[in-house]
């Protein structure tokens, strides 16, 4: 069995114990939390304020969770290439975030590797502009 690496939003996690079987990717609850931030609680899978009721079809006898089935339920894009699986955010989540008009936050490094978050500039007007070297 080859090791699987999960990229979930910007988080990259190698998961040597994850099991690919058919269209499923089985993770222990602990691995699920490490890789995705979704924690198994009595009321469901929870992250921040959000909780999603767990469907029995996503669980196996060993208490593992099928991340692929969960992502389908969440309408997340899934892209797979030779042991590396990337998960994005659903179009509705992205769209709602943008149309709320609260500028989506992010953290990125500057040229010296120092991290900057957009939210760190609260209290000032921000002119956020993009460019590329190409």
């Amino acid at each position: 069995m080859n090791a699987t690496t999960v990229i979930y939003d910007e988080r990259v996690t190698p998961l040597p114990r994850a099991e690919r079987r058919g269209a499923s990717l089985w993770l222990s609850a602990a691995d699920m939390q490490t890789a995705t931030g979704w924690k198994l609680e009595p009321q469901g899978l929870c992250r921040g304020d959000a909780c999603v009721r767990v469907d029995k079809a996503w669980c196996d006898a060993e208490g593992r969770i099928d991340l692929m089935a969960f992502a389908r339920h969440m309408d997340q894009p899934v892209t797979d290439d030779d042991g590396v699986v990337a998960f994005g955010e659903s179009v509705n989540v992205r769209r709602d975030a943008l149309f709320s008009l609260e500028g989506p936050d992010f953290s990125l490094p500057d040229l010296d590797g120092v991290m900057h978050s957009l939210s760190g500039y609260r209290g000032k007007k921000v002119f956020l502009h993009s460019w590329g070297s190409y």
Partner: protein, 250 residues
């Protein structure tokens, strides 16, 4: 240049943040941003980009934060499709102007593709577009919500383009492609960037990045025949739609 505008406005409760969409990371950006011969850049570039003599003369290496976005994350969050584009956020972090061309006029149809020279009429228009945009920015920094260029929420939403279903799939290919690039799996990385271009043809960021996704070409400006061929082949797609500075929209 933006640095000159930044120096002018930075003490008025204003911050400028630049984000570079560059999968090769610092290596790609460093060469460009810290070039020692900034003052020697030919004036033809000022005409091409519409910078006034005044701002061009005051150009300097940026002292505002220049962030590196290897995964084009901000492009996905804000649905940015080209560079340079900008979004304005007020003191509460709320969007008061959605993503739009940052004072850029589409010069490609007008320019000489070898010398980058542009005819006087196009240069004059480019200068006007840039000046109007920079003036709008100055007005907003000075007047805040009272500025006619700070749009009310319903107008921001009306102008805003949200992502389509294929856009988030394209962004996910970039997410995976960026990882594969960082692991040296160049051919697979290219495959995923090409998929992103196919799914989101409106994104010039993805197209231009995919053309330059090669360690041999890091930091190089893609202004050769390949770029112009791609430009000509996609002329039906918006490149630099002019920012609409009229509050009511059109």
């Amino acid at each position: 240049m933006w640095q000159a505008v930044y120096v002018e406005l930075k003490d008025q409760g204003f911050e400028m943040v630049a984000v570079a969409f560059d999968t090769a990371g610092t290596a790609a950006v460093e060469a460009r941003i810290r070039c020692a011969d900034l003052q020697d850049r030919p004036p033809v570039l000022a005409r091409l980009m519409g910078w006034s003599d005044d701002l061009w003369a005051r150009q300097a290496p940026p002292t505002y934060p220049c962030l590196i976005d290897e995964g084009h994350v901000v492009a996905e969050l804000y649905n940015m499709r080209n560079v340079p584009q900008a979004v304005w956020l007020d003191e509460q972090g709320r969007i008061v102007r959605p993503v739009e061309s940052a004072g850029t006029y589409d010069m490609v149809p007008h320019m000489n593709r070898e010398t980058f020279e542009v005819p006087d009429a196009a240069a004059a228009h480019g200068l006007e577009v840039r000046n109007n945009y920079v003036d709008a920015l100055r007005d907003w920094v000075k007047n805040g919500a009272a500025s006619r260029y700070a749009l009310p929420p319903e107008e921001v939403r009306r102008r805003m383009q949200g992502p389509k279903a294929d856009d988030v799939i394209a962004a996910n290919h970039v997410r995976l492609g960026r990882y594969l690039y960082s692991r040296g799996r160049l051919e697979r990385a290219k495959h995923h960037f090409n998929e992103a271009v196919r799914l989101c043809p409106e994104s010039w960021n993805y197209r231009r990045q995919s053309m330059m996704l090669d360690p041999e070409r890091v930091g190089e400006l893609n202004g050769g025949p390949d770029f112009f061929a791609a430009f000509d082949a996609h002329r039906h797609l918006p490149y630099y739609p002019e920012a609409d500075l009229d509050k009511t929209g059109g």
